[in-house]
C-alpha cells in the first residue's frame, strides 16, 4: 500500500507503522504514524467528539 509522506508516496513495506488512541469524556481519537528510520514521514489524526464542552462565544446573544 502506498502512503503519502513528506517524501512523496512510499510503499508501506519500507516504513514502520505506529498507532495510538486517546479515549476520554470529550473525544475518541486515533492516530497513525509512519516512520522511516528515525524520521516521522506521515501522521494522520481522527478526532471524534463525543459531546461538546463548547465555549459558546455568542450563546448569551442567541439566547
Amino acid at each position: 500500500m502506498l502512503v503519502t509522506t513528506i517524501h512523496g508516496e512510499m510503499d508501506d513495506s519500507l516504513l514502520v507503522k505506529k498507532e495510538g488512541s486517546l479515549d476520554n469524556d470529550i473525544e475518541f481519537t486515533t492516530w497513525t504514524e509512519y516512520w522511516l528510520d528515525d524520521e516521522l514521514v506521515h501522521r494522520s489524526v481522527h478526532v471524534t467528539l463525543k459531546t461538546s464542552p463548547a465555549l459558546f462565544a455568542e450563546a448569551a446573544e442567541i439566547a
Binding site: I6, I26, H42, V45, L49, K50, A57
Partner: protein, 143 residues
C-alpha cells in the same frame, strides 16, 4: 438558532438560504475561548495545504428544537459531515477548532478543544458527535 446565525433555510433575518460556516484550527498556544467573538488569523495553524480560515462546514441538516408553545426545550445543531483537512502538514501542536459564520462577518459560533495534535503529510478528521438534544455540537436552551 436563526437570529445572528442562520443554520436553516427559514431565517428570521430575512435571508432565504442558510449561512456558510467554516472551521479554523488554532495552535495550543493560542487564546481562543468564550471571549472570542470572531475569526482571526492570530494563533491559527499554518502549514502545507492548510488555507487560512480553514474549511467549509457541511451543513445539510437544519437545526432542530424540542420546545413547544407550552414548554421550554433545547435547540440543537450539528454539522452533517466530518470536518476534514486533507494532506496537510501542521507541525506545531494545535488543540482547538473555531466554528464561525463566514456569511455574517466571520462571527464566532463555538469553540471546541481536543487533545493536542500535529499532522505530517496526513489528514486531520474531526468527526461530529451525534445530533441529539444531549450530544449535539451546539445546544441552546429555548424558552
Amino acid at each position: 438558532m436563526t437570529a445572528t446565525h442562520n443554520f436553516g433555510v427559514s431565517p428570521t433575518r430575512g435571508a432565504s438560504t442558510a449561512d456558510t460556516f467554516k472551521a479554523a484550527l488554532y495552535l495550543a498556544s493560542a487564546t481562543i475561548n468564550a471571549s472570542t467573538t470572531a475569526y482571526s488569523a492570530t494563533g491559527e495553524v499554518t502549514g502545507t495545504n492548510y488555507s487560512a480560515g480553514g474549511v467549509t462546514v457541511t451543513n445539510a441538516t437544519a437545526p432542530a428544537s424540542t420546545n413547544s408553545s407550552a414548554t421550554a426545550g433545547v435547540g440543537y445543531w450539528t454539522p452533517s459531515a466530518s470536518i476534514t483537512y486533507t494532506n496537510v502538514t501542521l507541525s506545531t501542536a494545535f488543540d482547538t477548532v473555531l466554528i464561525y459564520n463566514s456569511t455574517q462577518s466571520n462571527k464566532a459560533v463555538s469553540v471546541h478543544t481536543f487533545g493536542s495534535q500535529t499532522v505530517t503529510a496526513g489528514t486531520f478528521t474531526l468527526t461530529m458527535p451525534s445530533n441529539t438534544t444531549t450530544t449535539a455540537l451546539l445546544r441552546l436552551a429555548t424558552t
